[in-house]
């Protein structure tokens, strides 16, 4: 018998004020069970205050082969960073 429980990706907010962060995946028959399983598998030591589960098939990821095309253009735009601009020492914090 094939176990056709779908895969869910699990995200945990470790405390209020922080974003949910991906921690891994698990199998569950539906979203409700995915939350219950995520509680048992990923938060046995108070790792979180909130859980998100997303069925894996609903996630669209960028292709690693596109990484250069997508992210390279940002590499030479050093003028987007504060250190690109020279200020006199008298101006202490800006």
């Amino acid at each position: 018998m094939k176990n056709n429980w779908p895969i869910w990706e699990v995200f945990i907010r470790s405390k209020n004020g922080l974003s949910h962060k991906h921690v891994g995946s698990l199998h569950a028959a539906d979203a409700e069970m995915a939350i219950e399983n995520a509680r048992d598998v990923y938060t046995r030591r108070t790792e979180g205050v909130s859980l998100w589960v997303v069925e894996s098939k609903n996630i669209t990821a960028s292709a690693p082969t596109d990484a250069d095309a997508l992210f390279e253009p940002a590499a030479n735009k050093i003028y987007r960073h504060p250190t690109f601009y020279n200020l006199p020492d008298e101006v202490k914090h800006m």
Partner: protein
């Protein structure tokens, strides 16, 4: 993949990029190109690791109902539950390599996939819960700490999570023995007996010596492994001998001796015939472990099916309610 001129060049280019990434100590992530053999090696190693966590629950599960106090019972229960969790983290890491969970389970059920031989030894007394936590988890920690730096991202992250949980496992085991050695003569003998039985199998956990290990060299080159079997085994012996001294127990090895020159303990020869016998299926509990696993798997089938059927029914109801609304 068709073997065309252009594809071959592509593969060679990808290979160069891959090798350079390993060289730079950059992690490999699931959707990145990787050599087939790297993928296969990882699937084999990670699933074997996952199966070990799962089968490893049996020898300790054996004592949960007979734990001598509530304190010991909650600790052992929590430890065994952690091991189930470790299995799940690892299965999900293996699945990122493109193999399905069912196939992984099936490989174990069919005996095609292995698990750590240490779990084919019986847990005869309560002192074994001490020795297993101290030595078996101790040996596993040596290996797993190294694997937090493995080159495959999801495996490394699972290891970080696991290592955080392991240290309690070893400490609770050691504490069990600490109490026994302070007890009656019979209790102290029980602790010594457990050490006698678990010492050599624990050393075998690191696998064959480097010269005999078939997969080691390539795994080191790919930085899946960062230390050799013998290096890890030596580190384990060096760390464990002083801990045995604190307990006042004797490690069952007449050749065990500090070697000033090497800065390590020398230890006697390992019985590799026993090791291979257990690996090949003839250890004291191989059949029992697999029979128990298979029974649990089969008896759980209706639960897995029922949960899916219920989920589908709920989904249909939701859809029906939605279309009712639209009609109204």
């Amino acid at each position: 993949m068709p073997v065309e001129g252009s594809n071959k060049t592509d593969n060679q280019d990808f290979m160069k990029i891959f090798d350079a990434r390993i060289e730079r100590d950059e992690k490999v992530e699931p959707k990145d190109w990787m050599p087939d053999a790297y993928r296969k090696t990882l699937i084999r190693q990670i699933s074997q690791h996952a199966h070990s966590e799962v089968i490893g629950m049996q020898p300790e599960g054996n004592w949960i109902l007979r734990a001598p106090s509530l304190r010991r019972k909650v600790a052992l229960l929590a430890k065994v539950q952690d091991e189930a969790g470790h299995g799940l983290y690892l299965y999900s890491a293996a699945e990122t390599l493109g193999i399905e969970r069912d196939e992984l389970y099936q490989q174990l059920l069919d005996g095609k996939a292995k698990y750590s031989s240490i779990f084919n030894y019986p847990t005869l007394t309560w002192a074994d819960m001490g020795a297993v936590g101290w030595l078996v988890d101790g040996a596993a920690i040596m290996n797993q700490v190294m694997l937090t730096r493995t080159s495959y991202g999801p495996y490394a992250r699972a290891m970080v999570r696991i290592c955080k949980e392991e240290s309690f496992h070893q400490r609770q085991g050691y504490e069990i023995l600490l109490h026994l050695v302070k007890g009656s003569e019979a209790q102290k003998d029980m602790a010594q007996d457990a050490l006698n039985r678990w010492w050599w199998p624990s050393l075998m956990m690191f696998g064959p010596t480097d010269s005999e290990s078939t997969h080691s060299e390539q795994s080191m080159a790919w930085k899946i492994k960062r230390k050799s079997n013998d290096e890890l085994r030596q580190a384990f012996v060096d760390a464990t001998v002083p801990q045995a001294e604190v307990l006042g127990l004797t490690i069952p090895d007449p050749d065990l001796k500090w070697n000033e020159e090497r800065g390590h303990y020398d230890f006697g020869p390992i019985d590799w015939d026993e090791f291979w016998q257990v690996v090949k299926g003839d250890g004291p509990c191989n059949r029992e472990r697999m029979a128990h696993y298979t029974k649990a798997y089969e008896e759980g089938a209706w639960v897995r099916e029922a949960a899916m059927a219920y989920a589908e029914k709920k989904q249909k109801r939701r859809e029906a309610a939605k279309s009712d609304l639209q009609v109204a």
